[in-house]
Symmetry: C2
């Protein structure tokens, strides 16, 4: 009988229900303030049950980042497809990253939280199938960017003497830093210091263009 498969499916569904609950609770009372009990209650489960699906709290953050990254990947692919040459693709992906961060702020925030997890804790997770799956998605996301860079080096829109991986990492990490500032302090910058964040964002992309061009 296909009981086995059904069971597997239901397990996955429950996992998703818990992530749904976490998402709601995070939105309602803040990520840091949310407790495992809150999440369990929202999922209409006992706390111990939640722990059957997520062996520790960080894995919930990871699960949500994983959800987000799947969306992110699609957005990146769409953005990349919409542009004609390598450099335009890179910029389009950059803009898609912005859109992602502002459309799914909760998912985006997971990145920051996960990054602040001590390496010793990552050790505990790194062999879990969930984590391996997670890494696969992340790599998929970065591959979209990498492909665009390689194309750009071939079609002459990006300096051909660059190292693609290094360039990708630089584009990604600097975007991250910029986006993090925008997402966490953008409002303060606008209201308190009168910074035109829209113009600043445009300049950011102009600068990126300038530095990538041959």
């Amino acid at each position: 009988m296909g009981t086995e498969e059904r069971k597997e499916r239901e397990k996955l569904r429950r996992r998703n229900e818990i992530l749904d609950a976490a998402e709601t609770v995070f939105a309602e009372k803040g990520i840091r303030e949310a407790t495992m009990e809150d999440i369990a209650a929202k999922a209409e489960l006992g706390k111990s049950t939640v722990y059957l699906y997520f062996r520790f709290k960080e894995l919930i953050y990871l699960g949500l980042d994983w959800r987000g990254s799947k969306i992110e990947k699609k957005m990146f692919e769409k953005a990349s497809a919409s542009a004609a040459n390598g450099l335009d693709k890179v910029i389009a992906i950059g803009r898609a990253y912005f859109e992602y961060a502002f459309t799914y702020p909760l998912y985006f925030q997971m990145k920051t939280i996960i990054e602040s997890i001590p390496i010793s804790d990552i050790e505990k997770v790194k062999d879990e199938p969930v984590f391996i799956d997670f890494q696969k998605v992340i790599e998929g996301v970065q591959k979209v960017l990498l492909d665009a860079i390689i194309l750009g080096m071939q079609d002459g829109t990006i300096a051909p003497d660059r190292d693609p991986l290094r360039t990708g990492l630089t584009v990604w990490s600097t975007s991250n830093g910029f986006l993090h500032l925008m997402a966490s302090r953008g409002e303060i910058l606008e209201k308190l210091y009168g910074v035109d964040t829209m113009a600043m964002t445009e300049e950011f992309f102009t600068d990126m263009r300038k530095s990538l061009r041959p």
Copy 2:
């Protein structure tokens, strides 16, 4: 009598002793793993006494970031003074930021931790004299960069049509993102993916030059 002043001095000394203790404990057993009791024990004080000097744990993080920022500022000033024109100053400051992050990794990490503190908690702190003093130092650090940018726009080494504040924020936030990647995953990138992080860093500065130039 000068008792009042002496008291004040001793209070400050104790504050510093606690920060010293925190620094040691953080280095010994990790920032996340360190408890207030650990810090108190290392400082040879009762936990409650530590709480007289730091009303909550986050203020210790803030205290260490404050310490670091004072060093950072000096390093920035020295770097800026060592270069002749605006653009060179900006790059020199960027390099100084790198040196700071790798020389004082503990202080640098405080930035990440502080950024991940929920805004609700910042509200609690923002009127404390300590926090105001802290902000003053931070602004001082950023002023060094801002001055270099303004000079560069005057001496023709930086595009004159830029907005200095926006440019400063962009330079700072992108450096932050890049540096954060290097500090937290640099080793992994080198050992696992064979990334030449030295070359990558040089390229980062070359890119910055390219994007700032007129």
